[in-house]
């Protein structure tokens, strides 16, 4: 410390970094000895020198600089936290994964139920369509049969006369193999749910009328009935008759004959 005197004039120059190499090296060698006087003096000089920064004209960096810097800082902070020792707590991403898995499972189950419902509904629709097709085919078959009976030259025509002169006449075509087709137009609708029932009157003396099928005319009075399997063969039948019966028909006529037509 006895040689501090020779460095006293170097404090400011050293703090400024303005000393030439030889002076700086000598002074630093002295500082390396741990001289507290010079060390304190240098620190004070640096404090003053640092104030020179305020001589610079005021300026502001761009916002982009802060943006770039903060992006880097955040990335490094995240990396530093990521490199920290493993924690006992479950990381947020794992919770997110579990939540996503639960959601996926729930969705899959819901989707499965939806699919099952859809399959069931599709099956039901398919069955309905098949039934509809079956019915249509049956109707088509009946229509073909009706047409065949009515067009076949071997069919026997039976004219049924109404007992009530106000009622229209009906007509039946009977084919020995394909059955009987009964038709009529402008036929009044029976009251309530009552029906018109076809009877086969046997040739045998004392024979009781053979009950056949029932029918109701449609809204415009058209009557169409196919009896594919008559209860009696044509050769054993004397006449056809129609009565009005309760819904479902009767085993024997309960009302007076409304229409009657004999086989020639």
């Amino acid at each position: 410390m006895t040689n501090c005197e020779q460095f006293r004039e170097m404090y400011e120059g050293y703090a400024l970094g303005a000393l030439d190499a030889a002076e700086r090296n000598a002074f630093e060698a002295h500082l390396a000895t741990g001289c507290p006087v010079c060390a304190k003096a240098v620190e004070e000089a640096r404090s003053v020198v640092s104030q020179l920064a305020y001589l610079a004209p005021e300026a502001a960096p761009s916002d982009m600089l802060k943006g770039r810097l903060m992006k880097t800082i955040r990335a490094e902070a995240a990396s530093a936290k990521g490199a920290a020792p493993a924690k006992t707590v479950v990381p947020i991403w794992l919770w997110a994964g579990v939540a996503a898995l639960l959601l996926l499972t729930a969705y899959s189950e819901w989707n499965s139920v939806q699919l099952r419902n859809e399959i069931r509904q599709t099956n039901e629709r398919t069955a309905a369509l098949l039934q509809q097709r079956h019915d249509l085919e049956a109707q088509l078959g009946l229509a073909k049969r009706e047409a065949a009976i009515m067009m076949d030259p071997t069919s026997v025509k039976v004219a049924l006369t109404a007992m009530n002169p106000q009622m229209p006449a009906l007509e039946a075509m009977w084919h020995s193999q394909m059955g009987i087709v009964l038709t009529g137009q402008r036929v009044p609708m029976p009251n309530g749910k009552r029906v018109l029932q076809l009877w086969l009157i046997p040739k045998a003396p004392g024979g009781k009328p053979m009950p056949s099928m029932t029918v109701r005319p449609d809204a415009d009075g058209t009557l169409m009935l196919l009896v594919a399997n008559p209860p009696e063969v044509m050769t054993e039948t004397k006449a056809l008759a129609i009565t009005e019966e309760p819904e479902g028909g009767s085993l024997q006529p309960t009302t007076a004959l409304a229409w009657v037509g004999g086989l020639s």
Partner: protein, 195 residues
């Protein structure tokens, strides 16, 4: 008299710099952002004054603050306030860049890449005035120096020139330049301490 005019009430800081720097050790991004917001203008102004190029200055400022973020433990708050330390770091970085660009000062090229030493214990003015008032005060005090003193000091501080280089640039004797600089800084110190 002018010093009296520069006196200002204390500038209470909700979050002192030293506390923010301590939080940097925990990689607190918020603390870093606060420090940046508080001091980036002063740092940038200094670096821009040295480098005179905005783009290069921003690169250096970025480097300074990244060094602060990555090596916050190098600041020892027991040895002085934060902002002189930061400004010294910024000046050294800027002068290094200037030197690399101009190759004018081989002397500084021999210096190792080190963070600046912590500056002296804080004078009272450090605690009492904010950046703007501090700047006004320093400029006012510098205004009382002779033009040669100001020029020599500025060449040393902003250009990084040595005594010899300044003497050569100003075509003045080396001893005269040394006296200008030393006496000018001592007068500045006295002015700062007087407030």
């Amino acid at each position: 008299m002018f010093l009296a005019a520069l006196l200002s009430p204390a500038n209470p800081e909700a979050t002192p710099d030293a506390a923010l720097v301590r939080r940097l050790l925990q990689k607190d991004v918020s603390a870093f952002e606060q420090l940046y917001d508080r001091h980036s203008r002063a740092v940038y102004s200094l670096v821009l004054r040295i480098l005179k190029q905005g783009g290069t200055a921003e690169e250096v400022v970025q480097d300074v603050f990244l060094q602060l973020w990555r090596n916050a433990e190098r600041y020892d708050e027991s040895r002085g306030p934060f902002i002189p330390w930061l400004l010294t770091l910024a000046r050294n970085r800027a002068l290094d860049t200037l030197r690399l660009k101009s190759e004018r000062q081989r002397r500084r090229e021999e210096q190792t890449e080190q963070l600046p030493p912590v500056v002296a214990a804080p004078p009272e003015f450090e605690k009492q005035i904010d950046d703007k008032r501090r700047a006004e005060k320093v400029r006012t005090l510098m205004g009382f120096l002779s033009p040669q003193q100001r020029k020599a000091i500025e060449l040393a501080y902003f250009e990084g020139l040595s005594h010899s280089e300044i003497a050569e640039a100003l075509k003045e004797p080396l001893g005269t330049v040394k006296s200008w600089i030393r006496n000018g800084l001592l007068r500045l110190k006295e002015g700062l301490q007087a407030t």
